[in-house]
Symmetry: C2
Subunit: 277 residues, 2 copies
């Protein structure tokens, strides 16, 4: 089968490297409006060829690996231009607006997916093998995809060793706000807090693993994250509100020297590891 | 020289493993009020022998690797019980209260140090080789330590491949609040925010590297961190205040759909990597 990946950055480029190993994928093409990304994708051997958007009608599997607002706009152009049996998989980080806006005549072709992976880097230079290995992918409103498209999506994601979970797009967006979007906002805010200090160089000279861990996400791409906050605005604001209540409560306990409460809150935070393990 | 490490957890135990490699260290003894820690420290070969506190007068280098409130209380007991030429190095995470409370007659024996290392684990099981390698150690109010003690501290910390920086204890505590203590408080609050959600298992099933990065510190020991927040209360509260202003401002921009401002704040957060690299 012929695959075309639209968007040859960290997510699309790394997926290309994984798809190459699947026996049912014969050719991997790429589309990217950024000319530098096009030449790097060829140079790094991520894709076999850069194609023009009008060649999309020859493609069996179309992957949308661009920021969510780009997905919303390209969806409308795919309408009527694709093979009847084509599978379109979007990898956007928010899902409800996307699922609501899929044109009716390509609804069965479409699979809405969110691979819970990535890192703070971006562009084809950041593409790495194994980015998807053992990670979770959330497939949303899967019952609305066609039978063939469901089969292909499962073959692809299990083929690249991902753990598939199924979820309604509305619930996905709420969960993603807590597990990913709100933590990113906090990381940006921590970075900006320290950067605003007069003696920031002095402070950062002391930085160890803890700070690096908490500020790593603050390196993530503004283009991608502005879009995510736009698309998932209400859930993100809600998650921040709840976080702020939690933070205020711990701050208040410290301020009032209620050390038993401080201990309890820390100890409760420790419970996360019991759930993870 | 004979070393005794008081506190055989992650910090003390890992230091023991590093000190073993230094040619001028002949014997490493340990003290820990926890009997299980004592036997594990022997079993894992962290120390040569567990000694009694009254044997401290035979020791050349005494390392205090216990929570900060413990350091404050043991300091008073060391008074008059130590060798005249002994070097006492404390590894506490806050420094101002410690430095202010060193008994005058052992002031020259004392070196106040904060190694910027560690992780979310604790106890002798967590002790690992290389925890100190290439990390920063902050030496505070160093000019108040004796010449011999200064020399020994520098030999030790450079011997275990640490980068030494010198700082006034007051400034250290302010910086540590931003670079370490406030981020820990945020990590606990993120963990508690998600743990409080009704569908926490569902949310956590989606957890990827980003969330793990932001919640890792929430596994840190309550005993140690309650003490740090106690000792550095004012600086910690101040750092939280400033973080809250930053977070509120980003939240407000999202709420009001001021996407240019959102982009700018994200883009500014990205600048951290220019300073780190």
């Amino acid at each position: 089968m012929k695959v075309c990946i639209i968007g040859l950055g960290l997510i699309g480029g790394s997926l290309a490297l994984s798809l190459k190993k699947l026996p049912f994928i014969n050719e991997i093409y790429g589309i990217d409006h950024n000319i530098e990304h096009q030449s790097k994708a060829i140079k790094y051997n991520l894709v076999d060829k850069i194609i023009d958007f009008k060649e999309i009608k020859e493609i069996d599997i179309i992957i949308l690996a661009i920021p969510v607002n780009g997905i919303l706009s390209i969806m409308k152009q795919l309408d009527e231009k694709i093979k009847e049996t084509a599978t379109i998989i979007d990898l956007g980080s928010t899902k409800e607006t996307i699922v609501k806006n899929i044109p009716a005549n390509i609804r069965e072709n479409f699979v809405a997916a969110h691979p819970m992976t990535g890192n703070e880097h971006s562009g084809p230079d950041a593409a790495i093998e194994g980015l998807y290995n053992d990670k979770v992918v959330v497939l949303c409103n899967f019952e609305q995809s066609g039978k063939l498209q469901q089969e292909i999506a499962v073959r692809i994601f299990s083929g690249i060793h991902m753990n598939i979970i199924y979820m309604d797009a509305h619930k996905h967006d709420r969960h993603a706000a807590f597990i990913s979007h709100m933590p990113h906002i906090i990381s940006y805010s921590i970075a900006n807090t320290v950067l605003r200090q007069e003696d920031k160089h002095n402070i950062l000279s002391m930085a160890a693993g803890g700070f690096r861990s908490m500020s790593r996400l603050a390196n993530s791409s503004p283009n991608m994250w502005e879009d995510i906050f736009k698309q998932n605005k209400d859930n993100v604001l809600n998650a921040i509100d709840i976080f702020q209540i939690e933070l205020d409560s711990l701050k208040k306990s410290i301020k009032n020297e209620e050390w038993d409460n401080v201990y309890k809150k820390i100890d409760n935070g420790n419970k996360l590891k019991d759930i993870f393990s």
